[in-house]
Amino acid sequence: MTMQNEPHIARAFDRDLEAVQALVLKMGGLVEAALLDAALALESRDDELAARIRAGDKAIDALEEQINTEAARIIALRAPTAGDLRTVLTVMKIAASLERCGDYAKNLAKRSVVLSQMAPIDGSAGAIRRMAKAVQMQLKDALDSLIQRDVELAAHVRQNDAEVDQMYNALFREFLTHMMEDPRHISACMHLHFIAKNIERVGDHATGIAEQVIYLVTGALPDEARPKADMTSTAPATGGQG
């Protein structure tokens, strides 16, 4: 559909488009690593690793800025149309999403430093690490679908977000139970809940990226509703065993 394999007559245009997409992949790689590392830092109570993740967010932010500058340059100099235009628009939106994901990873690292001073909540760090791993795979698949212009893979990412939502639901109930059982756990559980919520949001961004890929390839955003399984906003406060 988008004839990505057919080169432009102006070869420099191809190089520009490839370069800006390569930046997005690089950014995606950094975000995926930050997310996994942050979950690892939480589980292993590694404050040094957490500090490195917080410092590393600057590189992610800088990449977003560079992508926006490159995209603006392409728009100004090449006046992209059709698939090329959609590539540039998509790249800018994905960069904004990834930047946000980077912030969530950074926030996770911040909270892990606070949590390392508190008594651990049984099983929580492992569950969060599994959730972070699942979301990282979603991000990876979404970015792979971008590079391969693979609508099926993108649709698959959309469908899979429900699993992440379910993992979040389970954690939400678990933390609620812990807090009701022992009020001394409230502080730690609040932090853990924010961490779980933020990872779930990274999952939403992965879904958003996949939707952008569908727009990029087909020229239209998917219109059918995707499955949503985050029920916590409607769960009753006593729904500990919900």
Partner: protein, 265 residues
């Protein structure tokens, strides 16, 4: 939808001005246009784009029978202007061209005064009864072509003495002086600088409130800027025809995509 700029781009009418069905054009043995069907909307700018030799100018020239002047050219199929077949033997091609005006690639003012350039059409078609009426037609036409202020003090100066951009606007004034219903423009800006191009494009946008404008252009950006409908021609066929925004953001045919993104020439 409350955004004024979005409303402005909308086409205000859905009525067809020109309907072409199964149009084929041959230059001797060469099959230049292959079974083209197209509906040109009234009060709309329609752009024809496509690589050199794709037939867009040939098709444009069918719309006011300019191809009649080429001996080896043969046109078949149906082209109707307001429901009337323009290739009907009863139709006088000179009258037709007064209704369907044309502006060419290179400004080609007559070697006459600015006034006479514009007055020529109304005179030969007997559209005015006296000098005062003719003066009025000349002034209105020059005003519509956005050149009145630049030439009003030297209407008797030769038209060929104007700058390229002014000459092209003079030719547009000449084309609209006979009150045409359709204005055909074949690469009207290709010999103009960016400022003159912008003036002509602005003019085209104003003209669309009164006429149906069909423009052939090599500049895809120009097609994107001035038109509401775009038709892409390739190798004599009409590949895709649709709303300009759709053609430039999400074309349906891969050949359109390749052409507008600069992948085929």
């Amino acid at each position: 939808m409350d955004d004024l700029r979005i409303l402005e781009r909308d086409v205000t009418t859905q009525s067809n001005k020109i309907t072409a069905r199964g149009v084929d054009v041959f230059y001797g043995e060469a099959h230049a246009i292959k079974s083209v069907d197209v509906d040109i909307l009234d009060k709309t700018v329609t752009a024809f784009i496509g690589p050199s030799g794709c037939g867009k100018s040939t098709f444009l020239r069918c719309l006011n029978r300019m191809n009649d002047t080429i001996d080896i050219c043969r046109v078949t199929g149906d082209i109707k202007l307001d429901g009337e077949n323009i290739y009907d033997p009863k139709v006088d091609s000179v009258q037709l061209r007064a209704k369907v005006g044309m502006v060419f690639q290179k400004p080609n003012p007559f070697p006459k005064s600015i006034y006479d350039n514009v007055a020529y059409g109304p005179k030969i078609h007997g559209l005015t009864r006296n000098k005062a009426e003719l003066d009025e037609v000349v002034e209105t036409s020059l005003r519509k072509a956005a050149i009145w202020n630049e030439v009003k003090d030297r209407l008797n100066a030769p038209g060929t003495g104007l700058s390229g951009g002014q000459q092209q606007r003079l030719c547009i004034a000449r084309a609209i002086a006979t009150s045409p219903e359709v204005l055909l423009m074949d690469e009207p800006c290709s010999a103009l600088d960016p400022i003159a191009t912008a003036q002509v494009e602005e003019l085209i946008d104003e003209l669309r409130s009164q006429f149906s404008v069909v423009i052939v252009t090599h500049s895809m950006q120009q097609a994107a800027r001035v038109s509401q409908r775009t038709a892409f021609f390739h190798l004599g066929s009409l590949v895709e025809y649709g709303e300009t925004g759709q053609i430039f953001t999400a074309p349906k045919d891969p050949r359109t995509e390749s052409y507008i993104t600069g992948r085929i020439g």
